[in-house]
């Protein structure tokens, strides 16, 4: 039977085939799916994040690891659902109205997915109504807003105001990111968090969902 450390290693090296094969084997052998996630997979992604932060890894390696994590999660998620376990969080992410830039948004979406979140990707140039709809119709509990242009940053504030107007602001955490943004701007517009890169976004989302749970 495969060693659980092999799953940890497969995620760190971004080997999706190995990650899926090991997961299947250990699940067949009776491993607890929740324990796989919390004791092996999330620590592996934490190590990947650490390597990124200290510049041993670049984004291509992060994405490979996220893909390996995602492959394993595809096998594990149905079992968790059957046990009644809630996903870590459901994230609706998009680049705000008027802004077509989506590389950063895509990176954050991939990393969140790799980090165990369920991700609803709303695309680029997303109007406030779609973010509101993601909360009301699709039960998103985290909204991630991205902008690259200074002239589209105000659309983040507009989106937060639309969530307030719809009576949804208390139900969701709003994270913002993008090259021209700062923590100060995030505070000014009433966002719950600001991440300066994709890796930070995942830890931030985890922290906010953990805070919500307590």
């Amino acid at each position: 039977m495969a060693e659980l450390s092999q799953l940890y290693d497969a995620i760190i090296t971004g080997d999706a085939k190995a990650s899926v094969a090991v997961t299947k084997e250990v699940l067949d052998g009776g491993a607890d799916p929740l324990e796989l996630v919390t004791k092996h997979m999330i620590p592996a992604m934490d190590e990947v994040g650490r390597r990124f932060e200290c510049e041993e890894y670049f984004v291509p390696e992060l994405l490979l690891s996220a893909r390996a994590m995602k492959g394993a999660m595809a096998l594990i998620r149905p079992l968790l659902v059957a046990q009644g376990a809630e996903p870590l969080g459901r994230v609706a992410i998009g680049t705000v109205k008027g802004d077509l830039h989506d590389i950063g948004k895509n990176l954050v979406a991939s990393m969140l997915e790799g980090g165990g979140f369920e991700v609803i990707d709303l695309g680029a140039d997303v109007g406030t109504d779609k973010f509101v709809d993601a909360v009301t119709a699709r039960n998103a509990n985290i909204i991630c807003l991205s902008a690259l242009l200074t002239v589209t940053m105000p659309a983040m504030k507009t989106t937060i105001e639309a969530l307030k107007a719809a009576g949804l602001r208390e139900k969701v955490k709003v994270l913002v990111g993008g090259a021209p943004l700062t923590q100060r701007y995030a505070d000014e517009i009433g966002a719950d968090g600001y991440g300066e890169n994709a890796s930070v976004a995942v830890s931030l989302a985890r922290r906010l969902t953990a805070a919500r749970a307590t």
């Binding site: 510049e55 670049f58 984004v59 291509p60 994405l63 008027g98 590389i103 895509n106 200074t150 105000p154």
Partner: protein, 466 residues
């Protein structure tokens, strides 16, 4: 009608100089670009604000104030000439009448200065490529293309002397391939998809500019190579990858000139020296003076072959001295004064060499901008002049070889992580097929769903894969 370049316009590295282009162009009110002098090209943009009908009077006032203050400072500093670039924001291209209104007011300011102070000047308008607003992008039809075409025409009618665009054909595939460092996808995006779009787009745009009496003035690999440069700056991608991607964009951006563009390339096209070496066109470049918009490892070396010296884009915010656009015009003006004084005193080559030497060995991206590297990349492109894919691949392989040679010679120091990535990139490029159709068959399963084959003039599904 595309006519491919088959030989270089500049044969020796020593002949690649700032201020002098083999094929200078006269434009606007008394300016000759590439005729001996370097001129400032000032680019300015709005502070954080919403652009809509309610805010329109404020938008107009912001642009009027920026143009007037830049021109006033330019006259005070007695610049030999000035180019203003009005780079549209998405909303201004989406509403072509809005873009035209701003164009007209900037033109008025320039004409007033020309009449009053004899300021030699020209206006470049850059429209936004809106076509990737949908997924997959529709490049050759639809409301976004129609709006762009209308914005292009209206900008010319409203007084643009030069028209540019930073086109995005192939970017939908490149974005994904870049962040995965998938060289097959990157080369496919640049050498096949982007090349097909460039040929179609620039044939359309050159014809439209001619009808309206404006000068078509080139494209930029900004959406590809500057994206890579910025991701490398943020340590998200290896810098050697950004350098190799930059070299490959030259093969793509050259297509605009093969389709009839004559004007100076865009400031953010750091592939400009290769374009100048092959097409002989004047080029606009940006370096340390563009730090208001983005950081780079190319602050000095970017100027070594510049004919226009730009600040990329600066927001209209107040600094201690004055408004930021005015401040950055002053920096450009003093740089140009130095370039032109050195040339006047017979020291053009010496200053060019200092600009190169001060940056060249500090970054793989800078290394590839040196005159020697520029001509090696240009030669590699022309060796496969008739095949867009092979010339892109050749540019990439040559770039990797240049970085490796510099490392081996001790002229460039790479970290272990960067050196490992260089090996991987070189190996991946070497492993790519020599034939575009073979590459296409290889990458379509990974990228086929991201793009619309009809937008690239190929039947769906591309290559008959069913």
């Amino acid at each position: 009608m595309r006519t491919r370049f088959t030989e270089v316009a500049i044969r020796a590295p020593g002949d690649l100089l700032y201020g002098i282009a083999p094929r200078p162009v006269s434009v606007g009110r008394g300016l000759t670009l590439g005729g001996g002098l370097v001129y400032p090209e000032s680019n300015f943009t709005l502070p954080a604000m919403t652009i809509n009908e309610a805010a329109w009077p404020q938008v107009i006032e912001e642009y009027r104030q920026m143009a007037a203050s830049i021109i006033k400072r330019a006259c005070a500093l007695e610049v030999p000439g000035l180019v203003l670039e009005f780079e549209q924001l998405p909303a201004l291209t989406e509403h072509p009448a809005w873009g035209a209104e701003i164009t007209a007011l900037v033109r008025e300011e320039l004409e007033r200065a020309h009449a009053k102070h004899g300021l030699k000047c020209a206006l470049r308008v850059t429209i936004v490529d809106l076509r990737d607003a949908t997924r997959p992008p529709r490049l050759r039809s639809g409301p976004h293309w129609e709006a762009m075409r209308e914005a292009w025409r209206r900008a010319a009618r409203a007084g643009a002397d030069m028209l540019s665009i930073e086109s995005v054909g192939g970017k939908e595939v490149h974005d994904k391939a870049l962040v995965e460092a998938d060289m097959a996808g990157i080369v496919y995006a640049l050498g096949v998809l982007a090349a097909r779009d460039m040929e179609w787009l620039w044939s359309e745009l050159v014809a439209a500019a001619e009808v309206e009496g404006a000068m078509a003035a080139g494209d930029s690999g900004c959406g590809f190579a500057n994206t890579a440069m910025q991701l490398a700056h943020q340590k998200m991608l290896p810098e050697v990858l950004a350098a190799v991607v930059r070299a490959m964009t030259a093969a793509r951006s050259l297509i605009a000139y093969e389709c009839g563009v004559r004007g100076p390339s865009k400031d953010c096209a750091y592939e400009g020296p290769v374009l100048k070496a092959i097409a002989g066109c004047p080029i606009s470049m940006e370096g340390k003076t563009a730090a208001c918009a983005h950081l780079s490892p190319l602050g000095n070396i970017a100027a070594m072959a510049a004919d226009l010296w730009s600040n990329e884009s600066v927001q209209n915010v107040r600094l201690l001295a004055a408004g930021a656009p005015e401040v950055f015009l002053e920096m450009l003006a003093y740089d140009c004064r130095l370039f032109n004084t050195a040339a006047e005193q017979g020291r053009r080559e010496m200053l060019r060499d200092l600009l190169v030497a001060s940056d060249e060995c500090r970054s793989p991206q800078a290394l590839l901008l040196s005159p020697q590297a520029t001509l090696r990349i240009a030669a590699a492109i022309l060796e496969h002049a008739g095949d867009d894919y092979r010339r892109t691949l050749a540019a990439g392989r040559t770039a990797a070889a240049l970085i490796r040679e510099a490392g081996a010679a001790g002229r460039l120091s790479l970290s272990k992580v960067e050196a490992r990535w260089l090996d991987r990139i070189a190996r991946d490029l070497d492993a790519l097929p020599e034939d575009a159709a073979a590459l296409e068959a290889e990458v379509l399963p990974r990228y086929g769903e991201l793009f619309d084959p009809a937008s690239y003039g190929t039947p769906a599904p591309a290559l008959g894969l069913e």
